[in-house]
Amino acid sequence: MRLGSRLGLTALALALGLGGAANAGTVKIGVVLPFSGANADLGHQMDKAFDLYVKLHAKDIAPNKVELIKRDEGPPTGAVAKTVGTELITNNKVQILTGFSFSPSAIALAPVVTQAKVPMLIANAGTAWITNLSPYIARLSFSMWSPAYPMGAYAYNKIGCKTTAVAYTDFPPGKDSTEAFETGYKKAGGKVTLSIPMGSPVQVPDFTPFFQRIKDAHPDCMYVFVPSGAHATGVMKAYGELGMRKAGIKLIGPMDLIPDNKLQDMGDAAIGTIVMGHYAVDLNNPQNKEFNEEWHKAYGPDSYPDFMSAAAWDSMHAIFDTVKKLNGDFSNGQKVIDALKGWSTVGPRGKVSIDPQTRDVVEDEHAMEVYRKPDGKLGERILDTIPQVKDECKALKIGRCAS
């Protein structure tokens, strides 16, 4: 019995091995996204974009194929992501990793991908210095600095924020985003009057005490960074409830504050909010129109893509182009990452590319204001565009970006 089952297993393993050899043109992609827990909706936004891209474009890479192996990223602490990421590399033999909603996940996995020589294409996590951690990491989403740094000068010069309070969720991207904003803002001449950490990303706090403090200090503007899940909705509610706009305090931030798929639920409180970001459903370009049409066709009229979906879409696009370029041979991680360097496209976000030096994204940033559209829905109006923004954190060599 025992011998029999062992023989059976051996036979099975052989068969699987042979099967693997026969499909040399199948690229295994490990997808790490939060599918459970408080931030599951972020995972869904990106997963939908990955699936949609694969569905629509699988024919483009024929006869090569891709196989997506999906794992739950877990909470934004990095521990679960490190475990499943390592398993994907060692057990499932994936040849490239993508996804990653949260910076701690990518940070925790960086030494693993370096050692395994498996490229990681980050489709969301925004802490600026992640791409410095491994020569095998590239990013197509954004650096926290890409929207936050230009927002500093824009807030001072165009929005009229002479004094600003910053408030942020207390984890690496939150600190990054506020540091980037403060650097740009102080350089332009602005004064930061308050800096308030608002707890961990795991739980949505009651924002009222933090915002009440800001209201009492009465700055011209408040710059808020929160993860774009349930936190963003909570921020808008507390801001509206406390009557802060009426009190003359403008709400500004990176686009995480008004993710497209939650905008319609945010109500009047959101109107007038100005964010800096690289994507909105309302971006007017043919690629984005097509992206939105396909999205609604696949997921219904009430589901909207957002900036994370757009980055996931472009990331899968980059992987597909690389599959084509290397003719399905991802066995050499160095060749894959070299092929990704300098890759560019015109996607839903407009022109995006991967800077060959930093392996980080270069994209347009737009200042956008929330307004009520004629059809009664909320939308975002483009006020200004800053073309082809690179990660200034690396250019200015700030903190860990210098290494």
Binding site: G37, A38, A40, D41, G43, H44, D170, I196, P197, M198, G199, S200, Q203, V204, P205, D206, T208, P209, F210, Q212, R213, D216, G229, A230, T233, G234, K237, G240, E241, L242, G243, N261, K262, D265, M266, G267
Partner: protein, 290 residues
């Protein structure tokens, strides 16, 4: 009015509103734990279900927010009865671990079920006009939603206090909490009493869940996300004590709000500090039986 006085009033008001949410959601947990020594980690799931019923009633059926809150509390109270009758009852004499495994399992099943039907994106509810914006009390303005929450909390405290301290059923519940075997031997049907308090407690949790939509946003994960907070309130208040739960909710609500306002760098430090200090001095909580 001076700046300092303004700050104190802000903290007290926001803290009071937060405390009322904590009280409404936790009181049922405290009474069921005190009465049956039953560890019900699915309590937050009943709150989450209550929240989603409010969402469906207001969004799909167009019922106003306030009646939807009431309907949802009653519905969840009724839904909880079969759970108590057919599942919980089997484990009253079981160990804590078995109770924890059953109830946390129920909570995860509830999360998965509601994620399947409602999706993981946070839900919000349309509020009636009078609950949006703020009310002017002469010397300053307050957010009307929180003012409403405080009023509802105060009314509930009064009703529960009266029911607990002044009615026959309340006296029986207190007797059963104090000494279950003695209560049974004088002819009190503790099982039926427990079903009743369990249903009322779950209904109140659902009410808390309904209120939470506007405070935190509602996702299926609500079922376990704030559970630690509810357990802290129950533990510091003392199992089975109405007074204790109220006092613990007030202390934790106001200190947490004040701490976040004055020292945001400290995070949740103050909540845990209070818990540790209270439990060091009174291991059974404010009004728990030693």
């Amino acid at each position: 009015m001076s700046h300092a006085a303004n700050i104190v009033i802000s903290i007290l008001f926001d803290g009071l509103a937060y405390a009322m949410f904590l009280f409404i959601t936790s009181v049922g947990l405290s009474v069921t734990m005190g009465l049956m020594n039953f560890v019900n980690l699915a309590h937050g799931a009943f709150a989450m279900v209550g929240g989603y019923i409010v969402v469906s009633l207001t969004r799909s059926l167009g019922i106003d927010f306030v009646p939807a809150l009431v309907i949802s509390a009653v519905l969840v109270g009724i839904i909880s009865i079969p759970f108590e009758r057919f599942l919980y009852r089997r484990l009253y004499k079981a160990t804590d671990l078995e109770q924890v495994l059953l109830t946390i399992g129920l909570a995860f099943m509830a999360i998965a079920t509601f994620t399947y039907f409602y999706g993981p994106i946070p839900k919000s509810v349309p509020l009636p006009h009078w609950l949006e914006g703020d009310v002017n009390l002469g010397f300053r303005t307050f957010p009307s939603y929180r003012a409403f929450l405080i009023v509802v909390g105060a009314v509930l405290v009064t009703i529960l206090w009266y029911a607990f301290e002044r009615t026959n059923i309340g006296a029986r519940i207190r007797a059963a909490v104090d000494n279950r075997r003695m209560a049974e031997s004088v002819g009190i049907n503790v099982d039926r009493l427990f079903t009743l308090t369990f249903a009322v407690g779950s209904g109140l949790a659902a009410l808390g869940g309904g209120f939470a939509i506007q405070l935190f946003g509602l996702t299926p994960y609500f079922a376990v996300l704030y559970l630690v907070l509810f357990l802290i309130v129950v533990a510091t208040g003392g199992l089975g004590s109405l007074k204790g739960t109220l006092l613990a909710a007030l202390v934790i609500g106001i200190i947490d709000t004040g701490g976040k306002y004055m020292f945001p760098q400290a995070g949740n430090f103050f909540v845990y500090l209070v818990t540790v200090v209270v439990l060091l001095i009174k291991p059974a909580g404010f009004y728990g039986r030693e």
